[in-house]
């Protein structure tokens, strides 16, 4: 018999707490700890050597790390903005359609249904300099007779990656913004028309403030997504050529698994998490203020 009974709420929560501890807390603590050791996958005993913040100092002074960091931010900025604009355009078009809107909405989501690895392979083929679709098309149309090194030239490779990202994820924005458009009450839009607004002015002064919260939600989701971008890049360029498309997580993955320097990789990982946290906090702030604008706060 138990002498001291656990309070029922704790008892009921216990399974969840144990599972969470095993699945989330343990690996998290372990990886955090290992970032303070010179842990190499090939030398398990290195896990028990404490080297303090050495890995972090090394990461913060590593130009390769900062280059990947910068590149990730560039990718994030360009991809998110493009996706937002295209998604907005798409959502506006779809919301105007009166027939077959359901089918269109479903079709819009197709790109989201493919695994990013497959998308990576698909675009790797499309942008291949010899047999790729793009070069063949350009050449057949007589636009160029050059072989354009889409995935080999650093700038073009970055463009190709962004293109693939945008292709897969514009629909995230489109769907969320469409939901926002559906949620706009009809009255203020009509009031704006009567108040003398052109369609553009109605959009600018009424529609946009109403869908801003939805845009920020999409931004928050997608910024986390892109900040941990790995698969598409890994498949399309493998961070190459010569690290010119290396992003944070391809770099971290390479350091951890290829170079086997797990401790160092974990240190870089924890540093980059700040990037994700920063963007999340930033967009949630924006979201809250946009909602307050509309009097939805609280």
């Amino acid at each position: 018999m138990f002498r001291y009974k656990l309070p029922p709420w704790l008892l009921l929560l216990l399974p969840a707490i144990i599972v969470l501890a095993a699945v989330v807390m343990l690996p998290l603590l372990l990886s955090l700890y290992s970032s303070f050791t010179p842990y190499r996958l090939t030398r398990p005993d290195s896990l028990f050597k404490w080297i303090g913040t050495y890995n972090y100092e090394k990461a913060l002074t590593d130009s390769k790390f900062w280059a990947a960091f910068g590149r990730t931010i560039v990718l994030l900025t360009i991809a998110l903005n493009l996706e937002m604009l295209l998604g907005l355009g798409l959502a506006l078009l779809v919301s105007k359609v009166t027939r077959g809107q359901r089918a269109l909405r479903t079709m819009m989501m197709f790109p989201m249904m493919f695994s990013p690895v497959l998308v990576g392979f698909q675009f790797k083929f499309i942008f291949n300099d010899n047999v790729g679709l793009v070069n063949n098309a350009l050449q057949s149309l007589g636009i160029t007779d050059q072989v354009i090194p889409w995935l080999v030239d650093g700038k073009l490779a970055m463009f190709s990656i962004i293109f693939a990202e945008v292709w897969t994820s514009t629909s995230v924005f489109a769907i969320l913004i469409l939901a926002g458009l559906y949620a706009i009450p009809k009255d203020p839009l009509e009031a704006a028309k009567v108040d003398g607004c052109t369609s553009w002015q109605t959009f600018r002064h009424i529609t946009l403030p109403f869908i801003m919260p939805f845009i920020y939600i999409a931004m928050a989701i997608r910024s986390l997504d892109v900040a941990r971008a790995y698969d598409i890049v890994q498949i399309m360029t493998n961070g190459g050529p010569a690290r010119r498309t290396e992003l944070l997580w391809t770099l971290i993955g390479r350091t951890g698994y290829v170079d086997a320097k797990m401790g160092y990789a974990n240190a870089m990982g924890y540093t980059s998490i700040f990037l994700a946290i920063f963007f999340t906090v930033y967009f949630f702030r924006k979201l809250t203020s946009a909602r307050n604008e509309l009097g939805m706060g609280g």
Binding site: A192, V194, D195, C197
Partner: protein, 361 residues
């Protein structure tokens, strides 16, 4: 100057025709109220005038322009919506000034106009609040303020008071009437509340199933309803209607009682009719207005009385039809008491039983 003319205006939703060729001429500065039961097409008509709904046939003219195909912004109208339709993300000040800002007016001019409107509607202390921080009545005033800052040619109101409680509604009704006197603009006002219609209107337009049933000043439509529909819709309590048959200058009811055909009405011998008498014109003798030229009397048993203070509403029956009568200088009345009533025939009505049309000559 803005008159509004509707010529054979039709509205169809697909196959369904909901407004059937309305003709209406509204004068400059006139306060016209559309009234009618739910679903009769009041809002639709108003929205066609606003340009929020395209018209399926006929013409709408504002001033001397045909506005059929003009967008709302080109019509110089403003509209107050039933649920106010304020812009939730703008302060009261911005809400009021929005149309002027869109019109490209300069800051000083907007500020002056907003201040003026805010002063008229006592909104000045609320200017920096958001609509979410206002009470229903305050929102309603902001909605009106937003409409008046522009000095439009025509004001359109779609049931602006229906979301307010009874007391506030009465108060705002007075405000609207004062406002009309102050700003002198054509107003078209939609409501399904006949009291609002009677008190506000220069002219009442009674709509039914997408057509105009009758129009006229409040007193005209009250005194001379063209049909049983108008008779029961306008006035409170609604007019009593008793089925009967015309026999030798009398209308005989099913229980054998009869009343003379009212003066100025004529019906064929044997015609089935409905006899109309308002509560104000059937009163117990001794608690009634002084008799007029043509009077009749009958006995009625009171089944229920509703004392209202200065008067009491008495419920009784004439030939199985419930009758409401009015008692002035009331005394307590026991249910079951039989009283003698006087009926002012000059104010009674006769309608054809089939069509409900008035038989007035």
């Amino acid at each position: 100057m803005a008159e509004v003319h509707l010529e054979k205006v039709v509205k169809k939703y697909g196959e369904l025709e909901v407004v059937h060729g309305i003709d209406l001429d509204i004068g400059h500065n006139e306060f016209v109220v559309f009234v009618g039961p739910s679903g009769c097409g009041k809002s639709t008509t108003l929205r066609m005038i606003a340009g929020l709904e395209n018209i399926s046939g006929g013409n709408i003219r504002i001033g001397d322009r045909v506005v059929n195909d003009l967008p709302p912004r080109a019509r110089n109208i403003s509209m107050v919506f039933q649920n106010y339709a304020l812009y939730p993300h703008m302060s009261v000040r911005e809400n009021l000034g929005f149309s002027l800002k869109i019109a490209g007016k300069d800051k000083a001019e907007i500020e002056a106009a907003v201040d003026e409107a805010a002063a008229i509607l006592s909104l000045t202390p609320l200017l920096d609040r958001k609509p979410g921080e206002l009470s229903g009545g305050q929102r309603q005033r902001v909605a009106m303020g937003r409409a008046i800052v522009r000095h439009p040619d025509v004001f359109l109101f779609d049931e602006p008071l229906s979301n307010l409680d009874a007391k506030l509604r009465t108060q705002m009704r007075v405000e609207i009437k004062k406002l009309h006197r102050k700003i002198k603009t054509t107003i078209i006002y939609v409501t399904h509340d006949q009291v609002e219609a009677m008190t506000l209107a220069d002219r009442i337009v009674i709509m039914r199933n997408g057509s105009i049933e009758q129009q006229g000043t409040p007193l005209e439509v009250f005194a001379n309803p063209v049909s049983t529909f108008v008779a029961t819709f306008i006035g409170s309590p609604p007019m009593n209607l008793i089925d009967g048959v015309v026999k030798g200058g009398q209308v005989v009811f099913s229980d054998g009682t009869s009343l003379p055909v009212p003066p100025r009405y004529s019906a064929a011998e044997g015609q089935r009719v409905q006899y109309g008498v308002r509560a104000d014109n059937i009163m117990p003798i001794g608690h009634a207005l002084p008799p007029e030229e043509h009077m009749a009397e009958l006995d009625m048993t009171v089944s229920l009385s509703e004392p209202l203070g200065t008067e009491t509403i008495l419920f009784g029956e004439i030939s199985d039809t419930e009758i409401q009568a009015k008692m002035l200088n009331p005394r307590p009345v026991e249910p079951g008491e039989t009283m003698r009533f006087q009926i002012t025939l000059d104010k009674c009505h006769l309608f054809d039983a089939e069509s409900g049309v008035s038989l007035r000559t």
